[in-house]
């Protein structure tokens, strides 16, 4: 089946995007990502620990030739820091795709939308392919699309909360009005959450904690791959409408008298 996720002109077979945080070690990160089938992986930009003699690097485990590296701006609370982080990430030579997140509050980790819009304008102008993390607000999604973002990434629920899609109706409105991919980012807890996102027509799902903090991250990575695939197929297949009353599956003709 010819079904690709198209982001900034690049085709991906997998619609699951995974984070690389919170794993026990780099080898577990690598195994989980391989099992998930993800082709795009998010990373964070941080200071090198100067005194750490162990200079292993995440990219020693995730070959940038094999995976699309998606640097994030996690931890940035204003547009300047987010733009600075993206520029540093681009200099690392892994491409121009960035996950823009400008955090507004450390308890909810909800995005600061005005700052996100401000940073997105600058980054798009500088040639970045911007994937912004946003609340599930159709107006914000439209504004970011108009600015020139390569996709929009509404949250399902707070980052790391595992609550699943709290407002599928807003996500559906975003989907109706978007011409760029809509990727649910954050809040997924288990495979059915990912499947629901795909069933309502999302183009992809991004998650980290749901896999990395599961009791068995490798098994959960597989479950998420299957959840995303099942949801996507169900969306393409076209589900039956929900009805209040029964419709018999077996024919009424030919019944015994």
């Amino acid at each position: 089946m010819d079904d690709f996720l198209l982001i900034a002109g690049n085709k991906y077979r997998s619609r699951l995007i995974v984070g690389t945080g919170k794993y026990k070690d780099f080898s577990e990160t690598k195994r989980a990502i391989e099992v998930s089938g993800a082709e795009i992986v998010t990373v964070a930009v941080r200071r090198v620990n100067i005194t750490d003699p162990n200079k292993e690097n995440l990219l020693d485990y995730l070959d940038p030739k094999k995976f699309t590296i998606l640097p994030n701006t996690a931890g940035c609370y204003n547009a300047d820091d987010a733009v600075r982080t993206c520029r540093l990430a681009r200099e690392a030579g892994v491409g121009k795709l960035v996950k823009l997140e400008v955090i507004g509050d450390d308890k909810t980790l909800f995005p600061d939308i005005p700052a996100t819009l401000e940073a997105a304008k600058i980054l798009v102008k500088e040639g970045f392919d911007v994937l912004p993390y946003i609340t599930d607000d159709p107006i914000t999604a439209k504004k970011l699309e108009d600015i020139g973002c390569a996709a929009v990434m509404p949250l399902a629920a707070p980052i790391g909360s595992g609550l699943g899609i709290r407002n599928p109706y807003n996500i559906r409105i975003i989907l109706e009005h978007s011409t760029v991919p809509v990727i649910v980012d954050a809040g997924v807890g288990t495979a059915s959450d990912a499947a629901i996102a795909m069933e309502i027509g999302c183009h992809g799902v991004l998650m980290n904690t749901a896999i990395a903090s599961a009791k068995d991250p490798i098994l959960m990575a597989e479950a998420m791959r299957q959840g995303v695939e099942a949801g996507r197929k169900a969306f393409l297949a076209g589900r039956i409408p929900k009805k209040l009353y029964a419709t018999a599956s077996s024919p009424l003709d030919g019944m015994l008298n």
Binding site: G19, T20, G21, K22, Y23, F26, T29, T42, V43, A44, V45, R46, R47, V48, I50, P53, K55, N57, L58, L59, D60, I69, P71, N72, A74, R87, L88, A89, E91, A92, G93, V94, I159, A186, L206, M207, N208, T209
Partner: protein, 66 residues
């Protein structure tokens, strides 16, 4: 002379270039990005970048994140 390295003061010798500093710290240049006084230094300029008193360096890399 004193420089600031990832927010910490550090004493280094005069005449040290950025590539020399990375070698001393056993940091592979291919895996990091360096900002000097808020300007990104491109990798091919590491050898020609002579560090000066009071320079503020940020050496960053990719870590696990979501």
């Amino acid at each position: 002379m004193k420089i600031k390295l990832n927010g910490e003061e550090k004493e280094i010798a005069d005449g040290v270039t950025l590539i020399m500093l990375l070698e001393q710290l056993k940091i592979r240049p291919a895996r990091v990005v360096v900002e000097r006084n808020r300007d990104i230094v491109s990798r091919d300029a590491y050898g020609a970048t002579l560090l000066r008193e009071g320079d503020s360096l940020e050496i960053v890399h990719f870590v696990g994140g979501g």
